[in-house]
Symmetry: C2
Subunit: 361 residues, 2 copies
């Protein structure tokens, strides 16, 4: 093994230096003093009421449209328990978030991937699949997509909303990176374009930190209430202690300045990543995200991610395979680069090692 410092382009985790630990201490104190008996007790499956109300106000939905959970991933699981049967057809982008695919497969959904382009899902391919099947839902990550980094254009969002209406399917909009736009203009949420048929998911994992495991979903009150029933049957109530702390933190107005801090921390990292790719790997096709956690590249012709990954490990450069992001195969040359938890120097050094690895293959 090399004695180079390890560099991990593996998981989409936030930078530990971004965590507002001191403010969380103050919020924890306040939460336990003001709400101790509530947040140490069992509670409603939808979550700690003051946090539910705060989230509703923040995101412009009604309180009965909100369901919180221990992280947002599990909300996909609850939706599956409520509606997915073996063989149920679900569309996702291809590539898409690998952990969602694991849950969909666990419930034996038939997953059909719609190719993702630089400006969102390929609408022609989506229309062609809709001639063959109607999915229960289309799982879309419109903002700074995981794993690709692509953002869906406003025009494509309108087309997707119209197709959902026409063919009568749900939209599962996963938007944990939406607040982290480093440049450019915010696009409308699918929730705004198709409010009756969108379940919009997000989380505090990329804003406060993942440790408190606070995810949330907004949608039609009747559907939210059914999903909440599954949640209650699974774990009685979510983590009220953590939700009380998050509520006190939000109530103090700390979320907006924290988002600004995150943008200031992560923008140079995105820029470093894009610059290093241009400099060291100019023949790899890279996405050019305006926010979020990920840049992705398609390796040059004839270069396979699996081979690069194995060779890169010898330089203490740790990469993730691309295959797991693709529901129906493909992705042999796909490589996701999560840059947020690395310094600009580490990013530059990591991509230099990547280029050296490719050259030597």
């Amino acid at each position: 093994m090399s004695d180079l410092k390890p560099i991990n382009f593996t998981r989409g985790i936030p930078a530990i230096e971004s965590f507002p630990a001191d403010d969380v201490i103050d919020a924890a104190l306040a939460a336990l003093k003001a709400h101790g008996r509530t947040i140490l007790q069992y509670g409603a499956a939808i979550g700690f009421a003051p946090l539910v109300e705060w989230l509703a106000q923040w995101q412009g939905v009604k309180t009965n449209q909100v369901l919180t959970s221990n992280g947002s991933l599990q909300l996909v699981e609850f939706l599956c328990w409520h509606l997915v049967k073996p063989g149920t057809i679900v569309f996702t982008e291809a590539p898409t978030y690998d952990r969602t695919l694991v849950l969909l497969r666990r419930h034996r959904a038939q997953v059909i991937g719609i190719p993702l382009q630089a400006d969102g899902p390929d609408i022609g391919a989506l229309e062609a699949e809709l001639k063959k099947h109607t999915p229960l839902f289309f799982y879309v990550i419109p903002d700074f997509q995981n794993p690709a980094g692509a953002t869906c254009s406003a025009e494509k969002r309108r087309q997707i909303a119209a197709l959902a209406e026409k063919h009568n399917f749900l939209l599962l909009e996963d938007a944990p990176y939406r607040q982290l736009r480093y440049r450019g203009r915010e696009e409308p949420r699918l929730l705004d374009l198709a409010p009756a048929r969108t379940l919009h998911m997000s989380s505090f994992s990329k804003l406060i930190g993942p440790g408190p495991r606070i995810g949330f979903m907004f949608g039609d009150p009747a559907l939210i209430s059914k999903i909440a029933e599954v949640a209650g049957d699974t774990y009685i109530s979510p983590n009220f202690l953590a939700q009380g702390v998050a509520y006190e933190w939000c109530r103090r107005g700390l979320l907006e300045p924290q988002i600004e801090n995150l943008k200031a921390l992560y923008t140079p990292r995105l820029d470093a990543c894009l610059a290093a790719l241009r400099k060291y790997v100019p023949d790899a096709k890279a996405t050019r995200p305006d926010g979020g956690f990920f840049v992705s590249i398609t390796l040059p012709d004839g270069v396979q991610t699996t081979a690069v990954r194995t060779a890169a490990a010898k330089r203490n450069l740790n990469l993730a395979d691309g295959l797991a992001f693709f529901p129906n195969g493909g992705g042999e040359r796909f490589l996701r680069l999560p840059y947020c938890a690395l310094t600009t120097a580490e990013i530059d050094e990591g991509i230099r090692r990547l280029a050296d690895t490719i050259k030597e293959l």
Copy 2:
């Protein structure tokens, strides 16, 4: 409706006055100062390492035998995802914890109830069922059973362990009330009698409070590791913020004195419940628990719980139906009385109202 003060004998929740809120504040401060970057980040699916080590030492198991989760109920769900297929046979006590039945049914297990007696499951009935089927596991709540209040004798525990060995099935031992013994001698854990085939579950919900949602399971390292994989696929990691707080609280030696406080708080409540039953409802057959959260009664001949429940509501006495606790029917005269969250005066008044309700039916 009556203008009497409502009395709820419905859910098995702890008394809010039992929560050690001030000590939890100190623990939260210490946890965020010492471990802020770890407990605000993603972590291992098994849980926050210092808590895992503390639990292992406390309960005399190895670290690789421990899996924590957001409450213990979800551990049943993870076990089901790992091993239960539609039609898989599972034995439970009858009656048993209704929420476990919901999860078993969700996974389409075939649940067979073994009648529960005052000293544990009916071993003759268990042996008779074992001649017909071998279950994947037998779900047992040996200590101060939910909902009955019964405790399994040492002799029956040995018989159950021997039958598990002979017929090759697992024991899922759910023991959240075990630490709350108000009198009498502790019986051995199934985990001690059949260590290779027992998954022992417990939680801090009845000791610190349910709000932090900290459950845990001890068992064979290979099996624990498989269940942890399901957990990770479901929510990445459990709530590290809450686990960090619980760890700091435990590390300060606060668990043992807290258990003594809980015993001092709950023992008079159990005594008040048993005394009121003797006084007001002498012809109902009641269990005589030595600890835990529940007394249960079998209503007099010809009196149905459903009818009592409806009539009691008019006196602002809220009761739970008995039927949900029975996997294969029965329980028409069964009534669970969770007494811990009520004062001795409320318990006396509640059971007086129960007796008046029965008389008027």
